[in-house]
């Protein structure tokens, strides 16, 4: 069923789901949403399963004309969503009617907002996913970001309006973030470089997108006598490359192979925090070990599960 007509696409709005898996051996990156917490919550609010497709809006959100009655939830960064002439409450399920207008009036905090609709955004599944991979020209609508006059369909879904995330579970997106990392895989290419990496504060540069975030700050030096590059290998989202210029690059969801050394890797619950950072925001890194990382992951999962229970219960 038709749900939206795109009046204006916003700065960069794509259709994404949890990602495209099992094709990385062929050079297809995962893609999918950058902030998986906000994504999963948005889907839960409108009664969707955890893998349905949503819109990921970046900084300047889209203007959407509603074509049929439905239920939506907007989560993630606060890009000032409006429904007709009133602010649209975020982190809550809201009924929309044919003729309504959804707009975004500018970023208040965070960087990426997620717009879920009950039934999910329905586009053809390509290699197991609806996620848009722009460089590979697949997924979403013809493998590209939304454009004016696109019409979006939704699948079947039912849920009630007024589902609301408890306010203590709504993330606050600060301009100064701490990101937890596990060192490696190539931390042994650095010596004092590791200490410097963990003690410095970096600024997010203007080169920040779904492929990666280039940071600016202290120069991270390689150990004397080691190669500054490695034999090309695949990376995982959250890998932090240090190219020979010493300025780290956080790799995100649209990466396949690369030949730069990776000093550390961001733990998966913190990748979304990076995705909510904007150029100019400050980032510093904190080391955790693998056991701690897995404990954090379990806690995050319990948080999401208990919230889902509270919505359906």
């Amino acid at each position: 069923m038709d749900i939206f007509e795109v009046i204006q696409p916003g700065a960069y709005t794509t259709i994404q789901d949890r990602g495209r898996f099992e094709y990385q051996q062929y050079g297809v990156p995962i893609c999918g949403v950058v902030d998986s917490f906000a994504y999963r919550v948005a889907n839960a609010l409108v009664g969707n399963s955890q893998d349905q497709a949503v819109l990921e809006a970046t900084v300047f959100g889209p203007t959407l004309k509603v074509l049929n009655q439905g239920l939506i939830a907007v989560t993630g960064g606060n890009l000032s969503p409006f429904l007709n002439n009133a602010p649209l409450p975020m982190w809550e399920s809201v009924t929309i009617q044919s003729g309504d207008l959804i707009q975004f009036k500018g970023v208040k905090c965070g960087c990426r907002a997620y717009i879920a609709v009950a039934g999910g955004i329905d586009v053809p599944v390509v290699m197991g996913s609806r996620s848009t991979y722009v460089a590979g020209k697949i997924g979403g609508i013809d493998g590209r970001p939304l454009a004016a006059r696109d019409r979006l369909n939704k699948g079947k879904g039912i849920a009630k309006a007024g589902n609301r995330v408890p306010s203590n579970l709504i993330p606050t997106y600060s301009n100064d973030i701490e990101i937890r990392v596990i060192l490696g895989p190539q931390d042994d290419y650095f010596s004092e470089g590791v200490e410097k990496f963990l003690s410095s504060t970096f600024k997010v540069s203007h080169k920040a997108d779904r492929m990666g975030y280039r940071l600016e700050g202290d120069m991270i030096m390689h150990r004397d006598g080691v190669e500054k590059s490695i034999i090309s290998e695949p990376s995982v989202p959250g890998g932090i490359q240090v190219p020979p210029d010493g300025q780290p690059i956080i790799l995100l969801v649209e990466q396949t192979v690369g030949g730069y050394t990776k000093i550390a890797t961001i733990i998966s619950p913190d990748i979304g925090k990076v995705g909510q950072a904007k150029p100019g925001d400050r980032v510093h890194f904190k080391e955790v070990d693998i056991e701690e990382a897995h404990r954090i992951l379990r806690m995050e999962e319990e948080k999401i599960e208990s919230m889902k229970m509270s919505l359906t219960g």
Partner: protein
């Protein structure tokens, strides 16, 4: 080749298993063997395995496994490798029309290496190339085995548009563009075969660890094949 594989953490869901420190067919053979064994008999909790030049990236579900368990499993696999039935690698033929509009840099590659265009084609089609890994763009093969006689630097100014199927040379590498994209490789020919087609099942013709040969076809044959493969 390392005596024992090296295990490196790649975040909270990834373990990188390295078998050596070089781009080397023997090391890649080990990668292929372990990779195929993991495809055939998956390890519990492993969500995806990605073979590379000299390593395997194992992605796992941290709720079902951890690096210690995976390390033990991989070492067990390695010890039992001679008992595993690993099929021999396959060799796929890729038909290529060389020169002209299909390969606008053929003359440059010839001139750079003090060869005739015919000699370039002959050398390029006489090689057997190991597909070390796929990546960069979907289905793009990183190939080993280019003859030194054909080594040519990249273009000084990359092209804005290189059509999918273009066969090129960059330094000591040869490869096939899998999608239309910008690119800086010296283009010597083009294949009408789609090595990657997201609408086809399976979408990919090439697999890491297999071999590839180039077979020369004429411009007319290119057009015929392209026409029959058109949807």
């Amino acid at each position: 080749m390392y005596d024992k594989p090296h295990f490196l953490l790649a975040g909270d869901r990834g373990l990188l298993v390295e078998f050596g420190a070089a781009i080397d067919p023997e090391i890649n053979r080990k990668v292929r063997q372990i990779f195929l064994s993991l495809e055939k008999v998956p390890i519990h909790g492993v969500t995806e395995v990605i073979p590379t030049y000299r390593s395997i990236l194992i992605l796992y579900d941290p709720f079902q496994s951890d690096p210690d368990k995976l390390r033990q499993e991989i070492l067990d696999r390695e010890n039992k490798l001679d008992k595993l039935e690993i099929p021999p690698p396959e060799t796929i033929e890729i038909k290529v029309a060389y020169g002209g509009d299909f390969g606008p840099d053929l003359d440059f590659v010839a001139h750079h290496n003090k060869l005739s265009p015919e000699e370039v084609i002959e050398i390029h089609t006489s090689g057997t190339y190991l597909i070390y890994m796929l990546g960069f763009t979907p289905g793009f093969p990183f190939l080993g085995g280019l003859s030194e006689k054909l080594f040519t630097p990249r273009l000084e100014k990359p092209r804005q548009f290189v059509p999918a199927g273009s066969v090129g040379i960059a330094k000591n590498q040869t490869g096939i563009y899998s999608i239309d994209s910008p690119g800086g490789w010296q283009l010597i020919g083009r294949t009408p075969i789609k090595i990657y087609d997201p609408t086809r099942s399976p979408p990919f013709l090439l697999k890491a660890g297999n071999y590839l040969r180039f077979e020369r076809i004429s411009g007319e044959e290119f057009q015929e094949i392209a026409a029959t493969h058109k949807d």
